[in-house]
Each structure stands twice: as structure tokens, then as C-alpha cells.
Symmetry: C2
Subunit: 118 residues, 2 copies
DNA sequence: AGGTTAATTAACTGATGAGTAAAGTGCTGG
DNA sequence: CCAGCACTTTACTCATCAGTTAATTAACCT
């Protein structure tokens, strides 16, 4: 009864790539401009292969791309997958800002009272 | 040489909770209003305990809260953790929209040329 | 009390993820 | 040509995750 995961959808891949503080830190660093693997690895208390793996995850998610320059592999940010997250999350905005918030909590109070009595 | 993960930061927890299509579908359903566990489970081809586990993940991430109404445990959306994602992602917006995009690629081209020659 | 429904917990399995050390690849420069 | 630098790949460990079935808790209803 093998359940094999065939392929992850783009949004899941992007979110899980970003659900790691090391990888988010790498992304943040790359927002300031290209960097090599060693440069990216420097701030972290982990081996180079570990960082290399993180970069591979980011690359597979399309969040970075890598060039080649002699023995260096400069990484650059590709923010488009993040746009997908922003687009996905946008419709939920109404749940946390604007007057809807107050309406929500009002409805919650009402509902709570009704449950207490019913 | 045990490396124990003490506790995940909020953003990582939220992102990893949302990096699963089942959980995102649950969230989407809850955007339409409260629902019980059985109602939430109905659309999925998986056991009730599996859904229950997904709900626990969402609850631990603060993305849902659960009330009690007789034998039902109605779930409701709590979108605030999503706001954290939106806030985190906001500064990257400049990387995918507006004229900055063109400026970026221009700068990257320049940089590439310079590297080739240096 | 006892049966039914709603949901969670427990115990287990197989897959994936994050890290390591050590070996391999590919390029540069004396 | 070969020493060394910049990485990547491999092979391994250990923890966590997603799912299962079976058992348990909790509330309702007659």
C-alpha cells in the first residue's frame, strides 16, 4: 500500500523551502545582491555541505538561480515564487485588517453567547 | 551528538503548517465559516485521525482555534499568523513588481559583464 | 445504563529532512 | 602538472512527518 508523493505543487514547495530560518536568512542576504556559496555560508554555524543542500532546496523551489563564474557559483534571488505566496495569501487579508476584524469578533461574541444558552 | 530542535520560531511554524495542500484547503474552507472536524474531513480521501492531526498542526501554529459545542469541536480561522507571513514577504515585493524588476536585471547584466572581464 | 456519534490518542510504518564527514569535481594559478 | 580553492555528491544518522488501524474519551439520546 505504498503512498508515494509524486510531485509537490509549486506553492507547497515554496512554502516548505521558506519554512526554515536558515533558508530565509539566505534569501534575506541575497536581497542585498548576489553572493557565492562561501559568502552565504559564513554567518552560519554549520558545514558547507549543509548550506549547499539548503541552496539546492531554494533552487528547486525556483527561489534562487545560480550562475557560474570560474570556480564560484554566484547565487541570485528569484522572488517570483514569493509572489505566488503573496497572491495566495492576499484574499485572507480581510481576516486580519480593516473593519472586518471588529465585525468578526463581534460575531464571535454573539455566537458564544448563543451557544452558552442553547 | 544529538541536535535537538528546541522550539521553532513563529514564522517557521506558520510556513511549515501552510506548506501542505490539505492544510491549506482546510484553511480555505474555514474562510467560509466555522466547521466541525467531520465537515472538514469530508472532502479528503484520508482517515479522520489524519485530519485531526492536520488540525492539531494548524492549531499549534495559531492558524485555527477550536471551540466546544456538545460533542462537536467547531474550528475557526485565525488569520493573524498569516499576517506575519504577509509582513515578512512585503519587503520582497519590490523584487517582483514595478520598475525595479527591470533595474535589477539591468544591474545583473552589468555585473555579469564585469565579472567576465575581471 | 447502554448505544451512537464526534473526535482524539496511541502505537506503528515508511518517507522525508537536516545535519555530518569524507570523497569527488572542476577550475585556477604557480 | 599539481596544489589548492570552491563547491557538490555520497553515504550515513537521527528526528520529524504523514498516514494507517485500533482503542479511548466525551457527549448525546432513549
Amino acid at each position: 500500500m505504498s503512498k508515494v508523493l509524486v510531485s509537490m505543487d509549486q506553492l507547497s514547495t515554496t512554502l516548505s523551502a521558506l519554512a526554515d530560518p536558515t533558508r530565509r536568512a539566505i534569501i534575506a542576504r541575497l536581497a542585498a545582491g548576489e553572493a557565492t556559496v562561501n559568502e552565504l555560508a559564513a554567518p552560519f554555524d554549520m558545514s558547507l555541505p549543509a548550506v549547499s543542500k539548503h541552496l539546492k532546496v531554494l533552487e528547486r523551489a525556483g527561489l534562487i538561480s545560480r550562475g557560474r563564474n570560474a570556480q564560484w557559483r554566484p547565487c541570485r534571488l528569484e522572488a517570483r515564487p514569493m509572489k505566488e505566496i503573496a497572491d495566495w495569501i492576499e484574499p485572507y487579508r480581510r481576516f486580519w485588517d480593516g473593519s472586518f476584524d471588529r465585525l468578526e469578533s463581534y460575531l464571535q461574541e454573539i455566537q458564544g453567547k448563543e451557544s452558552d444558552q442553547g
